[in-house]
């Protein structure tokens, strides 16, 4: 998939999510749009994961630790033909199959998340298990920068570094906003990049919406000869792709009204 196709795919997924969120009146659209580009790249360009092999033990696995961005995964799984349209449209609705956060009971979803600070440890366990079994597959785990408030994240990072889980790639969706303020003004996130660099991992910093930067980084990781696990600090924009949502805290909560939906879909044409 080259850049044009990638851009179109990301736009289409954003449109799908906009319509569902608008109808179900669910939250977290801003958090979904900040990590959507990089997750889309992984599923369509990087990972060994498809409708045919998503249950094979040697598949690559994606763990979304910030489970409130679940609809990105659900929408991709529907697009890949693993989930039905009907299931996807039942997101957040009474009697529906898809809860607001991520649920392992859904085909193609690896683990359930929703409480922050859980996914990375599970990803580490999966990567360790594959390493012990000598299975050649990769585990990708995306966490939020706000999620780095959780102590459990640092427990996991120390473990991942010590155990040299080369088959694990951690991505930080650094959208700079968490649930009730800017990350910087809540806890000491100003030093987050330095703290992450201090842990002995292969460290990369990229623009999380830039196709070539994403592509080059995963290419570098593939060609890495050392034993270290990998961490990508992806600078992103909360609400990316819809002008009135970008960098706005309220889009952690709000769902677009009819006129807002219309404008957003127009912008994504």
């Amino acid at each position: 998939m080259e850049q044009n196709n990638f851009t179109k795919k990301c736009k289409d997924l954003r449109k799908t999510i906009l319509k569902i969120i608008s109808e179900s009146k669910a939250s977290h659209i801003g958090s979904m749009f900040s990590c959507l580009d990089i997750i889309t790249y992984l599923y369509y360009k990087e990972m060994n994961f498809s409708k045919e092999n998503y249950l094979f033990p040697e598949r690559d696995r994606f763990i979304l630790s910030k489970g409130h961005a679940s609809l990105v995964i659900y929408s991709i799984l529907e697009d890949l033909g693993i989930l039905s349209k009907e299931t996807l449209l039942s997101y957040y609705k009474d009697g529906g199959e898809l809860i607001g956060h991520l649920d392992h009971k859904i085909k193609g979803v690896e683990v359930s998340t929703g409480a922050l600070g859980h996914g990375l440890a599970m990803a580490a366990g999966i990567a360790l298990g594959n390493k012990l079994n000598k299975v050649n597959s990769k585990t990708y785990c995306l966490i939020g920068d706000g999620e780095c408030n959780e102590g459990s994240i640092w427990e996991s990072l120390m473990f991942i570094s010590e155990k040299e889980l080369k088959n694990l790639i951690i991505i930080i969706d650094a959208n700079k906003l968490q649930a009730y303020d800017y990350c910087e003004t809540i806890l000491s996130n100003k030093k987050l990049t330095e703290m992450l660099k201090a842990i002995n991992l292969n460290y990369y910093e990229i623009d999380g919406h830039n196709f070539s930067e994403i592509k080059n980084t995963f290419h570098k990781i593939k060609n890495n000869q050392n034993k270290k696990a990998n961490i990508i600090f992806a600078r992103t924009i909360k609400g990316k792709g819809v002008s009135y949502m970008e960098n706005k805290l309220e889009w952690h909560y709000k769902s677009p009204k009819e006129n807002e939906l219309k404008q957003a879909l127009e912008e994504l044409k």
Binding site: A121, A124, G125, I126, S152, E155, S156
Partner: protein, 303 residues
């Protein structure tokens, strides 16, 4: 109990190399031989219980049979949400092993004691709670756990507990263990407090009573049919547990008393233990030593 646990695990790992043990920087003298012999099956996870449970969940998803080991409060309260979300909601094959049931870690104080752990875990859907009474029960239940495939909390004492069961004991998860079948009176207990309850049992025999001594090591899920039978077959039910009276076994089985059989509950008051002392000393202080228990029970029976 620790010895019985590690012995049973070592026997099994010879047949099943898929077993992984994660320890929270504890296990000195327990795992020494095991980690030497099976370095790929043992990981010291450091003092990081939340990560330890999450990693256990991940390993289980890859098909490993995982045992997680630490002192009870650290491997339960500290990582309760990981047990709830990662293990129980996803119904994973992980055994959380906690040591130091009740006041086993007496003088270490409240931070290490485990008098409220069952209550904290009991309301999580899908968890199985095992608190065996002696090393033989430990052996049987650990053996049964190898093919159980659901999250288990295994609550152990420490070491050198008295053996009250016969060597031939055959016990499965969810089964009730009649150590002695008697009549009219049922002494019901679990965990290593059985040492005290067994003494009470002997004293009652001397007094001419013939009670049943029943161990219920599976606190969840309860064996409802068998518990109803206990109520049917006895006139007085006496539950003794080294746990807060809120959240323990007594509270679980009391509502099953449909025929209003006399029910007595000896447990720990809903308070932290703030005094210093060995487990023996503290049991006396909280009235769970054999002498105090016998005196109180004898009074009940004489009425």
């Amino acid at each position: 109990m620790k010895t019985a646990f590690i012995k049973t695990l070592t026997e099994e790992i010879e047949k099943n190399p898929n077993i992984i043990v994660l320890a929270g920087d504890l296990g000195f003298s327990v795992f020494d031989e095991f980690k030497e012999k099976y370095p790929d099956n043992f990981f010291n996870m450091g003092i990081s219980e939340q990560n330890m449970i999450g990693v256990a969940a991940g390993l289980s998803l890859i098909g490993k049979k995982v045992f997680v080991y630490s002192i009870i409060p650290f491997v339960t309260f500290r990582c309760l949400e990981q047990i709830r979300n990662d293990l129980c909601y996803q119904d994973l094959d992980v055994v959380v092993v906690g040591v130091g049931s009740g006041v086993s870690y007496g003088s270490s104080g409240f931070s290490h004691q485990a008098i409220d752990d069952i209550g904290a875990l009991k309301s999580i859907p899908g968890i199985t709670i095992l608190s065996p009474s002696d090393p033989l029960e430990v052996k049987c239940l650990v053996k049964d756990s190898f093919s159980y495939n659901h999250p288990i909390y295994l609550r152990l004492g420490k070491n050198s507990e008295k053996i009250v069961n016969k060597n031939s004991l055959n016990l499965k998860i969810k089964e009730i263990n009649y150590i002695f079948k008697g009549e009219k009176i049922a002494l019901i207990t679990y965990g290593n407090i059985i040492e005290e309850v067994y003494e009470v049992y002997l004293k009652l025999l001397k007094k001419g009573y013939t009670p049943s001594l029943i161990s219920i090591p599976t606190i969840k899920p309860l064996n409802l049919t068998e518990i109803k039978k206990i109520y049917e077959k006895h006139e007085k039910i006496i539950v003794i547990e080294e746990h807060n009276r809120i959240g323990g076994l007594g509270e679980s089985i009391f509502p099953l008393n449909e025929k209003n059989v006399s029910f007595f509950h000896f447990a720990i008051k809903d308070e932290f233990i703030k005094k210093v002392g060995s487990s023996k000393y503290l049991r006396k202080m909280i009235g769970l030593d054999s002498l105090t228990l016998f005196e109180k029970i004898n009074k009940i029976l004489e009425k």
